[in-house]
Each structure stands twice: as structure tokens, then as C-alpha cells.
Symmetry: C2
Subunit: 323 residues, 2 copies
């Protein structure tokens, strides 16, 4: 069955959920069809506010996202959620979570939720996610939320592709707060202390605020620290206001394009890396030279790095011949 | 300060902990020094039993590893642990956990524990870990345990680099068991149900055993399912025996080299991918052509995949000219 790209594109542009889901499945598979589709719809991207939400497992990100969806819908804006679920190789969580969460918003055409499971080869998830974001942008969603567990490298990279990154924490006691601080400053535009009805929320907030003040520089964005109790929706309006203010700040200071340039550079370098790996894997199985190198590494006659360097030279020679 | 590689190698070979730590820091940094060192010591690798231990956060992997260390030491074998801590960008967990765990074994020269934090660029952790495993193999450790949280892609890839992979679970109730099953079969050589003093342990075990029997094929390894209570050391002897039996099975069936060949192929392809990305990033900043492509993508005149393809061609042309 050949794909009618023009039909698919017009359906995506019209916001048909089934076509959007189909397009995301297509980019998850990767390959020529995915590239063809992205090429076609890329011109319609770049308008959505990309919001990354990240944090350790168990801090209540999903419930917080649901509360945010309600805030965003109140304003009549359309919102899509891409939820990374890196635990799925073990828990099957993506599919289960999807089903439960989709039910709640199933009748609302202004909300689209999709989990992306962490299967397939390394690098695949990041690429599929970048492309899935393009699909959602082209579908006319005003806000695209990318929810990640934020523990793995690729998950972190995905969170950082956003215009606005929200880090979700929980009230912590004693030493934990100290430990939390180290990584915060670099990635978070907004900090949320969720489950703020637990003990220690105010102290955690005070600690983080004073720490943020230490590193704050004149003219830079000052990340707000917001207390939330997601199941009751507490804090969600404040978070949404802060996200909008952050994007306005980026636009006013001419930082939005600068940020996006850095992100697109990272994205393209990721694509280059994945393509280079794929070219290598294509070649290794039917190249006698590659097999010989592998055998020598296995016999410990040659080290892995030297083998990789040899293979890259080999690859470059072959490519420049056929290019 | 220039590095005396020969001195470092002889100290590594003699099992000096400070030199091993220094070498691992070197491979974490990557680059020429790391490659030079790996080249030198690669011939001394391949003898250790590589055991991967993975599982979701909170199942008690670290305590289980500590119990295993005691079993392995009882036999007079030397054991090293590489603990991936992907939560560290937020929690700083790697360093803290390291300190606590090192103290217990600090006077035992036959035990080496090192946490590898999940910092640096994507792909970096996997490469650093592969190389750190080489350092530990060359140091004469009989067993190298690679402990990962097993939620991110790169962590999973690292766990799968082992000869024997142990998946740690907890007693689960109802639907959870069903969900757990899906991903188990492919990666686990040994299944451990830790915290077996919690309710549901026997049912979880029975469910997993019956599920494993369904997919078991004659002549294949039958993954044992072991109940454990790590803080009391319960189950740790059985786990260690199972790990040894698994390696014997691989050797008897001539599967060990076959497995290692597949793993080394994956490892080299990872190195190729990382090197390709690095070459690209080196070029993009001072190549006017690359900058022009980036600007066009940012203006949505060109899509990311087409830009990546252009850049790869550009890279191949440049490389084949200078090679």
C-alpha cells in the first residue's frame, strides 16, 4: 500500500486525531516514509509553545500534566502531550498509562495524548520524538508538552528540546535538598514542588529559592519556584502563567530563536549520528573487511576504538565512491 | 603533564585501586588519552565474568549487589562494580551512594566500586562504561558487575553488554505481574524477586515461572526465578550459583563467543556513531555551509532530515579529501 502523503498532510493540518496518530506511528518506525512526511510538513512547524516537563519517577508528573491540560483548555488553546515512558521495557507502562489517560480527554478534540515507548535502537527514541513534535506542530496545537522521566540521557536531551523546561520535585528533607540543587540551575526554567501537602514543602522551596538567587544574573530569566498539589489542581494556574511569561521573556529578549538554533543543531547532530550508525550496520554484515575486524577484536588482537576508526575510514571511502 | 601509559598499565595490571580509578576517570573524559590507554590494555581483557544487574528504581539493586559481593569474596574471587546512576543530574546520587558503599569495603583490596554519573553528551556514558569495563578486566577482576537502573535506553544497552543479565523485580499484585512479563523474556538470564518478605512474592514467582515455561525452548537456557531478601543476604548464594551456572552453560554450548561478538558489534557501532557526531560538531561551527543550512532550517525553508543528509555528504566529501 503506498502512502498518500498529500492526503495525510491535509488531514494532519485539519487536526484529525487518527491521522496524527498514524503519522506519529510512521515517524516512530523511521526510514524513508518518515523523512518524506517530515520534509512535507516541516514548513508548517515552529509555531507551538514547546513545554518540557521532567523529574524523577514518582514525583507526580502525569497528574500535573493533566492539571495543566485543564488550564490550557480553559483558554481555548489546543494542547498535545508526548509522554516518554522509559520504564516500558519492564512495565509495559506506556500502553497502560495511555489508555487510562486518553479516556478522560477522549471526547475533547483539543487534546491529544500519546505515549512513546522506549523501544527500538539507541537514538531511535530521540529522533522519533523530534519528528513527532513536528507532526504535532503542523497539526496546529498551540502547546506541545513533552513529558519525560528525566533519568536517562536521551530523556534529558528530549526535555531540553523544549522552549520552556519545567522541573518537578517533591518536598525533601535535610541532605536531599542539598543534593537536588546541583543539577537544577542548568536545565529548569520553572521549578515545581509537587505534593506540597507533604511535610517540608516550604523549607524545600526556601532552600531552592535562596540557591537560585545566588546564581541569578541581572537580565536573565529568574526561574520561579511553585508549590503544587496536582490532584487538586493547586498551583497549575500559576505554572501555566509562568510558562507563558517565560516564552514572552524569550521573545522579548530575542532569545527564542537563539535557543531554537542550539536545539536544532543538537537535533541535526543526533540525526547525523543515527544515520552514521545505520550506514555502518548496513555495511558490517556483508563486508568481509568488517567481519575480519570484528573477529580480530573478539580475539583481542585489535581494540574497539582502532576497529571503529578503521571502519569509519572504510565507510568514508565506500561512500565517497558511490556518492 | 604527559601521561606515562606504560606505568599506568603496569599499575592497573597490579590491581592498584588508585590507578584503576585514575584510568576510569580518563576513559570518562574520552578523547585521545582514553583511546591510547584502551589500545594498550585491550589485549588483557576478555577474562572476567561480566554480570549486568538491572531493574526499576527502588527494587533494592544496590543492597543485592552488596550481598553478591560477599558471596563472591567468600570464594576468594576479586570483584568490581560499575554502578550507573542516571538520576544523578537531579539527585547527585552517584557521589553520595559511592561514598557510603565504598566505606564498607574500603579495606578489602579484592573489591572495587565505582559510580559512573550520567553526565556529558549523549552516547558518552555508554562509551565510557564499555571502556571502564576494559580497565577493570585488565586489572584482573574475576567478576565485573554492571549495575544499572534499567529505565533509559543507554542504561539498558549497558546492561545487555554483560555475559549474564540479572533482572531484579519486587513482589507485584494483580495487573502488575501481567505488565512485567512482556519485556522480561528478551533480556533476563536470571530473575530475582527481591523484598520477598513482602506479600505476593510466591504468586509473582509462580506467575513468572509459568510464563517463562511457555516460551522455553529445548536446549536453551532456562532462566531461574530466585526469591531474595537482600539486607539479610537471603537468596544471594543462590543468585551467585545461578550466575556461575549460566556462564558455564554459555561456554558449554559455545554461546559465549557468539554473544560477545554481537555485543562487540553493538559497541563498535556505538563508537562509530559517537565519532560521527563529534566530527559533525567539530565542523559545523566553522563551516559557512553548515551555518547556512542551520539558518535555513530555523527559517523552516529546509527540514532537519534533508539538512542532516546534506551535512553527511559534506562531511564525507571533506573526509575523503583529507583522509
Amino acid at each position: 500500500m503506498t502512502l498518500d502523503f498529500d492526503l495525510l498532510l491535509s488531514e494532519i493540518r485539519a487536526g484529525h486525531h487518527r491521522s496524527i496518530a498514524k503519522a506519529i506511528s510512521l515517524v516512530e518506525k523511521g526510514g524513508g516514509n518518515a523523512e518524506g512526511l517530515i520534509k512535507l510538513l516541516f514548513t508548517f512547524t515552529g509555531e507551538a509553545h514547546l513545554i518540557g516537563i521532567t523529574g524523577a519517577p514518582g514525583v507526580g508528573k502525569s497528574t500535573l500534566v493533566d492539571a495543566l491540560i485543564k488550564q490550557i483548555r480553559k483558554q481555548g488553546l489546543k494542547v498535545a502531550v508526548l509522554a516518554m515512558d522509559p520504564s516500558s521495557p519492564f512495565s509495559g507502562g506506556a500502553i497502560l498509562g495511555d489508555r487510562i489517560r486518553m479516556q478522560e480527554h477522549t471526547l475533547d478534540k483539543g487534546v491529544f495524548i500519546r505515549s512513546m515507548a522506549n523501544r527500538g535502537h539507541t537514538g531511535g527514541l530521540a529522533l522519533a520524538t523530534y519528528d513527532a513534535i513536528r507532526v504535532l506542530e503542523a497539526s496546529g496545537f498551540d502547546v506541545v508538552i513533552i513529558e519525560t522521566v528525566g533519568v536517562g540521557q536521551s530523556e534529558l536531551a528530549i526535555a531540553q528540546t523544549a522552549d520552556t523546561t519545567i522541573l518537578v520535585l517533591m518536598p525533601a528533607a535535610g541532605d536531599d535538598v542539598q543534593a537536588i540543587k546541583s543539577g537544577i540551575m542548568e536545565i529548569a526554567d520553572i521549578l515545581v514542588i509537587n505534593k506540597a501537602d507533604l511535610p517540608g514543602a516550604n523549607k524545600t522551596k526556601a532552600d531552592i529559592v535562596s540557591n537560585l538567587e545566588l546564581v541569578h544574573q541581572e537580565g536573565q530569566w529568574q526561574p520561579p519556584v511553585i508549590l503544587a498539589v496536582a490532584p487538586q489542581g493547586e498551583g497549575s494556574e500559576e505554572i501555566w502563567q509562568a510558562a507563558k511569561q517565560h516564552k514572552e521573556f524569550l521573545v522579548e529578549k530575542n532569545l527564542l530563536q537563539e535557543r531554537r538554533k542550539a536545539k536544532i543543531k543538537a537535533e541535526i547532530s543526533e540525526i547525523v549520528a543515527v544515520k552514521a550508525r545505520a550506514r555502518f550496520l548496513d555495511r558490517i554484515d556483508d563486508s568481509p573487511e568488517s567481519q575480519r575486524l570484528l573477529t580480530r577484536v573478539l580475539a583481542r588482537e585489535l581494540d574497539t576504538h582502532s576497529a571503529a576508526n578503521n571502519l569509519i575510514s572504510d565507510l568514508l571511502r565506500a561512500s565517497s565512491g558511490t556518492n
